[in-house]
């Protein structure tokens, strides 16, 4: 069965967004990630677990260390989905701006 978590939960949290940004630059160990935050290691570890369950992060073993890396394709998928909704409204408003401009020009003729 698929994990109950969904990707919206993953990106709605500011700490998790920050973790994604960090790992986007390079794969990192849990310790290195935790050092970047003021929260407890356990809290960061919980965030990493959620992101992994959402298939946004994967683990890879390198020597004795575990590194987390970003699943770029999954990230793109979310981004497209959210952007659609955000864009719908931005597009509508821009189209209204255009119509209003045309109407104003017409009345000024």
């Amino acid at each position: 069965m698929k994990a109950r978590r969904d990707i919206f939960q993953a990106v709605a949290d500011p700490t998790r967004r920050a973790i994604i940004s960090l790992i986007a630059l390079q794969a990192m160990t849990p310790n290195a990630i935790a050092e970047q935050f003021n929260t407890s290691r356990q809290a960061v570890s919980k965030h990493l677990q959620i992101l992994t369950e959402c298939e946004l992060l994967t683990q890879k073993q390198q020597g004795r260390e575990i590194y987390y890396q970003l699943e770029i394709n999954k990230m793109k998928e979310i981004d497209q989905w959210l952007n659609q909704f955000r864009k719908i409204w931005e597009d509508r408003f821009n189209q209204i701006d255009d119509i209003l401009l045309k109407l104003k020009n017409k009345t000024n003729e």
């Binding site: 969904d6 919206f8 939960q9 990106v11 709605a12 500011p14 967004r17 920050a18 994604i20 940004s21 986007a24 630059l25 770029i72 990230m75 793109k76 981004d79 959210l82 952007n83 909704f85 955000r86 719908i88 409204w89 931005e90 597009d91 509508r92 408003f93 821009n94 189209q95 209204i96 701006d97 119509i99 209003l100 109407l103 104003k104």
Partner: protein
């Protein structure tokens, strides 16, 4: 878009309500017309360059505005059912997906998306500019639908208009690839 125009998106988690504030560089009378005349609605409600087709338009309380849009060769339908209308002040309507007969259907993209959204738009004018405050909240939604709506809206809010985070910059670079 004129960057001097106010544009805000926020989400009230407790009330499950999206609030969008947008300013337009035009008088109230004109903005009202653009929101309520079918020939204008057809040109802005749908995606850019793809005007929707107005199938039915009854601008009165309980009246229905049924429209169709052709997405990748397939027709899909949506509707507004108008509630209160106070000229140039307030517009209330319920939006949902629809079949060709105007019957409400589930969102085609996700079964957890609320069946109906209640929208209220408040219009006001100041210095020849018009501001709309649009609030949208799921109607008679289940817990699961409310949860989905919250997550989606919360995520959108974080990315909306201006808040340029590291993540967004990164995603921008991805898009260029």
């Amino acid at each position: 878009m004129n960057s001097n125009l106010k544009s805000e998106f926020s989400f009230d988690e407790e009330k499950h309500t999206i609030e969008i504030i947008r300013e337009f560089d035009a008088k109230l009378e004109m903005v009202w017309e653009v929101w309520t005349k079918p020939e204008h609605l057809a040109n802005w409600w749908g995606p850019p360059g793809l005007p929707i087709t107005v199938e039915k338009y009854e601008f009165a309380p309980q009246g229905i505005f049924l429209y169709s849009a052709s997405v990748q060769g397939q027709s899909s339908f949506g509707k507004f059912v108008y509630h209160r209308i106070i000229k140039q002040e307030l517009l209330e309507y319920i939006t949902s997906f629809s079949d060709e007969n105007g019957q409400t259907i589930r969102a085609p993209f996700n079964e957890k998306f609320p069946l109906e959204i209640f929208n209220s738009v408040i219009f006001s004018e100041q210095n020849e500019r018009t501001t709309i405050v649009l609030r949208g909240t799921p109607l008679n939604a289940t817990e699961e639908e409310l949860e989905f709506f919250s997550k989606m809206s919360g995520s959108i809010q974080q990315g909306f208009a201006g808040s340029c985070t590291q993540l967004e910059n990164y995603l921008e670079t991805l898009k260029k690839h």
